[in-house]
Symmetry: C2
Subunit: 207 residues, 2 copies
DNA sequence: GCATAGTTTAACCAAATAGTTAAGACATCA
DNA sequence: TGATGTCTTAACTATTTGGTTAAACTATGC
């Protein structure tokens, strides 16, 4: 007997890729089997239904994504340090697996597969984690020389600036001719977001 | 003979709604017929295949979306006015039809249906439009008291801040318990983005 | 060797869904 | 009035795809 766990992991990985790329409706069990290098019979030997496999994979991916995103929220007390770290870490996570975000935003809007519930469950279970986001923001904001703004809007803006370019990557690349595949772009982006968040567009008066 | 054009328009509108909500793979021809208040036979009487109808609808929606977004790019010469108008207009367009963006980002990543080509074609045809975006940004930036930043990154940041909350709306609403349906939220958001873009987070030194 | 679990093969079934057909109803206009 | 184009009904076909089955092959450990 070979390692069934190996095959199972194999299947999960193949299913992850296919589901994330094409979504629940667009995914084909045959494609998953092919990508895993096995046949449909064995696929169903391990996982009874598409629905089951999807739930498993979606849960796994969402948990991992949120866990990663919460894990990289920095602890720095100084606001500038905190911002810098956050942007850097966040861009790292996104560029490592750029498709997961798009997948999540799409599938959650489809509703039917309880993705919302999966996320809520995870968030609630790790409630400390969510709390700490806004708590950390508020704490970091409390330093000197920082404007007090609504943490929620601040959070939205920050995430939006980091995430959006990679969501819209096909448009920006294919249509507007921007090459986003390079490390240089990510560095540039990090700098641009950092400066925007800190200084905005107005020239600041010299002391 | 009744107005066949009326029925055709009816079909297009129903198809738009269903395709935008569920995507190409998730959409059902029966659902489109039902929503249009007709039967499948008549649906195929006017449009031969799902593929054809999808292409038609997708093209239409994408063109309209881009046209609207280009149309609301303001002409103001003063940077602060320009920014304020842009954010306001952009949020208006998004809130009027929040699903189109998500649909486009998803479908373009699927690639298979030439959506990329549709967008590129539109952008190239209206090339003046695209040019004017960055030209307008550059021009508005040239006013006094404004930092010179890469227009592309600036653009990404601006769009990201406006669009992201509505893309992630299900997560923010269902999971984090934020109510985004109110006009108040949109106003708040407008103000938050404006201030972030202009001032960033640092307290500015008094003159 | 032989029991057992993992795996393949290939054919198959069942359900969902895209697409078709034919007959006729109904209105409009020449 | 009757030709024409719009529309309905309802049954039908074709295709795709999820899911099943049974038989046999393979490797491993006892």
């Amino acid at each position: 007997m070979k390692q069934d766990t190996e095959t199972k992991l194999n299947i999960i990985q193949a299913a992850s890729k296919v589901f994330i790329e094409r979504g629940m409706d667009g995914a084909r069990m045959q494609d998953i089997a092919d990508l895993a290098g096995i046949n449909k019979a064995l696929l169903h030997y391990y996982y009874n239904s598409k629905e089951e496999l999807y739930r498993l994979v979606a849960t796994r991916e969402i948990k991992q994504a949120f866990a990663e995103l919460l894990a990289v929220i920095p602890e720095e007390q100084d606001f500038r340090d905190w911002i810098r770290s956050f942007i850097h870490n966040y861009l790292q996570v996104i560029t490592k697996n750029p498709q997961v975000t798009r997948f999540m935003l799409w599938e959650i809007s489809q509703g039917g597969n309880g993705i919302s519930a999966i996320i809520r469950e995870f968030i609630n279970r790790k409630d400390s984690g969510r709390m700490s986001v806004f708590e950390t923001i508020r704490k970091a904001m409390s330093g000197p020389g920082v404007r007090q703004v609504d943490p929620i809007h601040f959070f939205m803006s920050l995430i939006g600036m980091c995430v959006y370019p990679f969501l819209a990557r096909p448009i920006l690349e294919n249509v507007m001719g921007i090459d986003m595949g390079t490390e240089e772009f990510v560095r540039e982006r990090e700098e641009a977001v950092y400066e925007m968040v800190l200084y905005g567009m107005e020239v600041r008066n010299a002391l």
